[in-house]
Structure formats: structure tokens, C-alpha cells
Amino acid sequence: MKKIKIISMLLMVLSIQSLVAQGQEKAYFSKTVEGTFEEIAEKVTEYLIEQGFGIVTEIDLDVRIKNKIGDTDMKPYKILGPCNAELAYEAYKVEENIGFILPCRVIVKDLGNNKVEILMENPTEKLIVRDNIELNKIADQVKTKYLSVLKSL
């Protein structure tokens, strides 16, 4: 009996620790690589597709902003919306409001001097996901795919 109690307490401590670790996770993943903006944007798109995502949206934010407010010093800034239909549908079945955070955003940002930053949302850290264990499991699969894209770059 005592043993069981100790084990269950241990498990509790472990699960709390893993929660804390989750809480400390970054909201984004980022990597800066060398290359031209066009070249890197193309690579990111290609690797995302290889990981099973469709690119459902694409916004050249710098162009949109310049069109509206005139010339700015903004460098190329692309927002890609990758979405894996299967995982998105699984997520929807767990949480109907998932549509508010779909698709995930991946940013390709020109830093100048032949440097480009890639910024990806950490799907497990989105507010709607964080406290939902089922949703977290699905988001974790997305995260693994993202990290693999970043690693390939």
C-alpha cells in the first residue's frame, strides 16, 4: 500500500515537472540562415510540403503594407499558412474553436546582408492548446514536423 502511495506521489511530481517544462517552452522557434530571401522562402515551402503540409495561405506583408501606407523601409516579410488537413480535422474534433488559430503561421523574414530568419509558431504553446491534453498531442505532431523543417534548412 505504502509503495503504491509513494509511486503515485512520484508520478504526480513527475507530471507537475513536465507541466512546468511545458510552461517554459518558447512561443516560437526561430533559425537564421544564409541565402537570398527568394531562395529560402522556396526551400521552406518545399520542406513544409515534404512534411505533409499544404500551403493554404501566403501573404507578402511588406507589399501589402507598402500598398496601403506608401514606401516604408520594411524588408521582405512573408507569412505562410501551412496546414495538414488530417491533423487539423483531428484537432477540430477535439476543439471546435481550433479554426481561430488555423493555419499555423510560418514567417520568412529578410534580415539583409544575405541573412534570412525563419520563425515558426510553437503549436503546443498556443493558448487554446496549452491546457488541453488531447489537443496538445496533435499539436506535438505538428511541432515535430516543424522542427524537422527547421533542421533541414
Binding site: 512561443a27 506583408l61 501589402r64
Partner: protein, 128 residues
């Protein structure tokens, strides 16, 4: 904090999209992206899903202000507006609450922009 604003309307699905696009424009938002979730799920998974559209709304001057304060804010753009058929005669229109979703980004300079954008999106939902 509720992370979205919503209204249930008696518009048809197409009317609702038209109406919300119009109200977004009045508040300075363009619809930069549009995802036909119904068609995508049919095509990819052969699932019959209700009418469901995700509009990506963005107010470029505000986006520029937000980016100047926090260059990672692009991961929250555009703001999602969802139009979905919830019954035969009812369509729900909902917009994300940017303040709730921006809490993850700790940057006080963003506060003002987030408040303005939130008020504008709330206004859109009130007006549809």
C-alpha cells in the same frame, strides 16, 4: 478572457461572408486570405463538412505599427474571422480576440495596438 467575439445571424452563408467583409472594410481591414475549409476537407479527406470559411483580416497600418513594436507579431497575423453554418437557418460570425491571443507575446509596446485592433474587431461583430 474570451478569445473570440461572435454573433449568430439569420444571414445565408454567402450573405454572411459578404456582410462581414463589408464591415471589416469599414474598420480598415482587408481580407488577405480566405480558406474554404469545407472544400479543403472534401478534397483532402473526402469528409462532408458544414459550410465553414476562415477569413484572414488585416489592417496594414496597424500591422506595421505592431511589427515596429514586435517583429514576431507576424505569427499572429492575419486575424482570423470565422463564418460557419450552425443550423439550416443560422450562420455564426466570429472574430478572434487579439488581446487574448497576444498575451503569449510579452511586449508592452504592443498593448495599445492590440487594444485598438480588438475594439475594431469587436465593432465589426457588433455591426454585422
Amino acid at each position: 478572457m474570451k478569445y473570440y467575439f461572435n454573433k449568430i445571424t439569420n444571414y445565408s452563408f454567402d450573405e454572411a461572408i459578404e456582410k462581414v467583409t463589408e464591415e471589416l472594410q469599414k474598420e480598415g481591414f482587408g481580407v488577405l486570405t480566405e480558406i474554404d475549409v469545407t472544400a479543403t476537407l472534401k478534397k483532402k479527406l473526402d469528409v462532408d463538412f458544414k459550410n465553414y470559411r476562415i477569413l484572414g483580416a488585416c489592417n496594414p497600418p496597424y500591422a506595421y505599427k505592431a511589427l515596429s513594436a514586435e517583429d514576431k507579431i507576424g505569427t499572429m497575423l492575419p486575424c482570423n474571422v470565422i463564418v460557419q453554418q450552425i443550423s439550416e437557418s443560422q450562420v455564426e460570425i466570429a472574430a478572434i480576440n487579439p488581446i487574448a491571443s497576444m498575451q503569449a507575446v510579452e511586449n508592452n509596446a504592443l498593448g495599445e495596438v492590440a487594444i485598438d485592433i480588438t475594439q475594431k474587431l469587436e465593432q465589426v461583430i457588433t455591426n454585422v
